[in-house]
């Protein structure tokens, strides 16, 4: 291993990345835009989850005072009311899941319709039925102890890790295949550079860029949303470093032999999409079948997110996340060894 040669390749790749304005900008813009979008959606206190149709159409004020629909139901933050001139139009919307519940305003009951195949319709119905109960029939309501984290606090590391995954897989896997196809690798093979030096330089360069962009995005987003972090920032940085290593090493395995950009693109999608959905980037797998949770453990992203979220929300220290660290290190060693063994410079 000649570090001078590796450093030359490391610097060359970094120059290439920083000069490619489109790729460089996208690495910042993508996570920022997603965080900003979700931040705006979930920070809105008037966020409405269910859509309730009402007919016949009259001004809302009049409807609120009509007494047919309970006041607590009409004032719920999670409901959006849409008026229809007649029952037929409302039913048509309900049939196609455009609304979750349809209520007849003039009925003294009130009378309502739901789509039996709509889970959100069922939930909206429960809200209506609860609103119809007398206040003394409610169970005792208490708030959970401790600091409550927002959905955005839970989501934020997921978005950063997802960005890291796409950047690692595509930035290493796809790019190296392109270099192989256009002859860049062949030109390098004609020099004393070894495969290990080249792969190490590619991986370290990508890690450097990933950590650089992740740090900038983190602090930029934190200025707006003030994320709750109970544990050490340094440990989070270290976890992202380990996660980046393992994700880049998967990229290197894909890059080791590929000669077709189209095929590599397909394989990258095949790996990245299940990893994104099963690694709890967007939603928790709590309560999902055990076999799905076991499959999720095969992805480095799962271990990265578990560890980062525990550090963020529970203040976990290194010892508490050592299993995840070992898993990430293990993935890196396995995939990097495979990549080095099967790497080919030529097409």
């Amino acid at each position: 291993m000649n570090f001078k040669r590796m450093w030359a390749m490391f610097q060359a790749r970094n120059h290439e990345f920083f000069r490619d304005r489109a790729a460089f900008g996208w690495n910042f813009a993508f996570p920022f835009l997603i965080i900003l979008g979700f931040g705006l959606i979930f920070s809105n206190r008037d966020h409405q989850t269910f859509k309730v149709g009402i007919f016949p159409a009259v001004p809302l004020l009049e409807a609120q005072t009509s007494g047919a629909i309970p006041q607590t139901f009409l004032e719920s933050n999670y409901l959006e009311f849409i008026e229809f001139s007649d029952q037929a139009r409302g039913e048509e919307r309900l049939r196609h899941h455009k609304i979750d519940l349809l209520i007849e305003r003039t009925s003294p009951g009130p009378r309502y319709w739901i789509n039996d195949s709509s889970p959100t319709g069922y939930l909206a119905e429960q809200l209506l039925l609860a609103a119809l109960l007398p206040a003394d029939q409610f169970p005792l309501r208490q708030l959970v102890n401790g600091q409550q984290s927002r959905y955005l606090d839970w989501l934020f590391p997921g978005i950063l890790a997802m960005n890291m995954m796409f950047s690692a897989l595509w930035g290493v896997g796809y790019v190296v295949v392109r270099y192989r196809k256009n002859g860049t690798l062949k030109r390098l093979k004609a020099t004393p550079l070894t495969a290990l030096e080249y792969l190490s330089a590619q991986m370290l360069s990508r890690i450097f860029l990933l950590l650089f962009t992740t740090t900038i995005v983190w602090f930029g987003a934190d200025l707006i949303f003030h994320f709750q972090v109970q544990g050490s920032y340094l440990l989070i940085f270290f976890l992202f470093f380990l996660g980046g290593l393992s994700l880049c090493s998967i990229g290197l395995v894909l890059a080791a032999r590929g000669t077709s950009e189209e095929f590599t693109s397909g394989v990258l999608n095949f790996i990245s999409w299940p990893m994104m959905f099963l690694s709890e980037v967007w939603f928790s797998l709590e309560g999902s079948p055990v076999w799905i949770q076991k499959i999720a453990l095969l992805f480095p992203l799962t271990h990265l997110l578990n560890a980062v979220r525990r550090v963020m929300s529970e203040g976990a220290d290194l010892m508490a996340v050592q299993v995840e660290c070992l898993a990430l290190a293990g993935f890196t060693i396995i995939f990097l060894t495979i990549a080095a063994l099967i790497f080919s410079w030529n097409d």
Binding site: R13, E16, A190, T191
Partner: protein
């Protein structure tokens, strides 16, 4: 002079199709060795096997009398026919990156001056013209002061000025005692630069000699072109084979001097005569035929 490179019984197949079929030759130190052949003859495959870019199925390659060692790549320079560089790097950064890959590299200022890259240093690789890119590729091939240089069709796509400039650089390199192995489709280039030439076809070496010996061996005689108006006689009286083309008569002669005397005896006007002596292209066509190749 001892050979710097010996290639012995090289074989390589791609999907059961032989690309290189028992190729053997030796290259003497300090010469420019040309490898010629039609498209698909196996020149580039042979070169890339020798360069250690692809592996042969069988055969032996000796560099300075020994099998190639790990230091082989420190001692050779390669300009590939098809290759690419990092698009967003400047010429200066590209040279610097490659410079750092070698143990005993050439001074960059010398290299930049030799390949006339001074005005291009700040330009990105993807902004270079074909000729400029070839000059950069040549500079990269020379960056480690190689003893053995492979140039795979280096003048393809170059304008006449750039081609002449390339030839001058190759001549200078040769004067420094370095060995060059060149493939080209330009017979003019091969004749101008090469001391020895091997002609390949269908994966085999079909001829190998100096350019003049190849011409002597494979082409006989010359051709004399005269306007039809210069001949006031029945063409069948001419003692040479002849053809007519575009109001000219082309005579195929073995001995030029004798032929001239004969024509003067026949009172032929030689004032508009042109003579075509056989060249490497004639050898090439004679050996590989005129049928189109893929």
């Amino acid at each position: 002079m001892k050979p710097i490179l010996e290639i012995i019984a090289l074989h390589k197949k791609f999907k059961r199709e032989p690309a290189v079929d028992g190729v053997s030759f030796a290259v003497r130190e300090g010469i420019c060795f040309g490898l010629l052949g039609p498209n698909g003859a196996g020149k580039t495959t042979t070169l890339e096997i020798v360069e250690d870019i692809i592996l042969p199925d069988s055969g032996e390659i000796l560099y300075q009398g020994q099998p190639r060692s790990l230091s082989f790549r420190e001692e050779i320079g390669i300009q590939f026919q098809h290759t690419s560089l990092l698009n967003f790097l400047t010429v200066a950064e590209t040279l610097d990156s490659f410079h750092r890959l070698y143990q005993k590299p050439e001074q960059l200022t010398t290299l930049i001056s030799r390949c006339e890259l001074e005005s291009l240093l700040a330009r990105r690789n993807n902004q270079l013209s074909g000729g400029q890119l070839q000059r950069l590729m040549l500079a990269l091939a020379l960056i480690n002061r190689p003893q053995l240089i492979f140039l795979d069709e280096p003048s393809t796509g170059l304008d006449p000025q750039s081609r002449r400039n390339l030839w001058e650089i190759v001549q200078q390199i040769k004067k420094e005692g370095k060995t060059i192995i060149l493939t080209t489709h330009s017979m003019e280039e091969a004749e101008y630069l090469c001391d020895e030439i091997a002609i390949m076809d269908q994966g085999k070496i079909i001829a190998w000699d100096t350019p003049s010996s190849l011409i002597k061996t494979h082409c006989h005689g010359s051709s004399i072109r005269l306007p039809t108006s210069a001949l006031h006689l029945d063409l069948d009286r001419l003692p040479f084979p002849w053809t007519t083309r575009n109001s000219s008569v082309i005579l195929e002669v073995n001995e030029l001097h004798e032929a001239m005397n004969t024509l003067l005896d026949l009172d032929v006007d030689l004032s508009e005569m042109s003579i075509h002596s056989p060249n490497l292209e004639d050898v090439f066509l004679a050996l590989t035929g005129r049928k189109l190749r893929d």
